[in-house]
């Protein structure tokens, strides 16, 4: 028996009011490679905003971003961030 770690990804595309930002949850799953029994699962999260560099993301996350982030969405998000108040 050996323990192996596998990763699974869940993506959440926020509504257009949130500029289709993509929330990514990576599940780090430790399992027995022989029986497949899951021994432990932990989560790690990050958020991708339209226009972000996604070259380091896995293919399935890149596909979601590329589908959600049209040129109009990216332009709208960039205009929004530029207009954000710079101080609290």
């Amino acid at each position: 028996m050996a323990l192996v770690e596998v990763f699974e990804y869940k993506t959440e595309v926020l509504p257009i009011s949130a500029f289709h930002q993509v929330q990514v949850r990576r599940s780090n799953i430790t399992k027995d490679d022989a029986s497949g029994e899951v021994k432990a699962t932990t989560f790690h999260r990050h958020v991708l905003a339209p226009g972000d560099d996604i070259s380091g993301e896995v293919a399935e996350v890149q596909a979601v971003c590329n589908a959600a982030w049209t040129d109009e969405v990216v332009a709208a998000y960039q205009a929004f961030t530029a207009a954000q108040a710079p101080s609290p």
Partner: protein
Amino acid sequence: MSGFNTLADTIPIDFSGQSGATAAGMTAEQLDHYETGAWTPALTGVTSITYSTQVGLYTRIGNIVEVKFRIISTFTQSTILTMSGLPFASGDSGFAIPVSYQNCESGVVPTFYSGSSSASGNFYELNAAGGNWVPPSTGGTPLYLVGGGTYTVQDV
């Protein structure tokens, strides 16, 4: 996993039968999300940064997420210090998180502030001068940044 009740993610816990008066302004009585995990805080606006610790934890209950972070780093120069990597995008209002620090300027109380629909934000000074926090070079001694707070997230 045995020993746990599993709720389908489409079925929230409904509290509409609870006792007591309903508060004015109430908008929901269903709990549809619980999750805990990790995130990776990253500083930007700095030059030649080296991390020795870069840890973030979160717990989300409904549309509220509590985050904690701890960063130990050295850097040679900073402009406006920002932090990215939050686990969820913020909701329609911004939020602020108090931050503790060690080995930096005296008389500065930094606060992390994020605007709406964002997973990053800037550090500000809470002192008479106010404004963006631009810490000096850490030299050879690491800067410790520790903070935590809650914010409202976007509904998916």
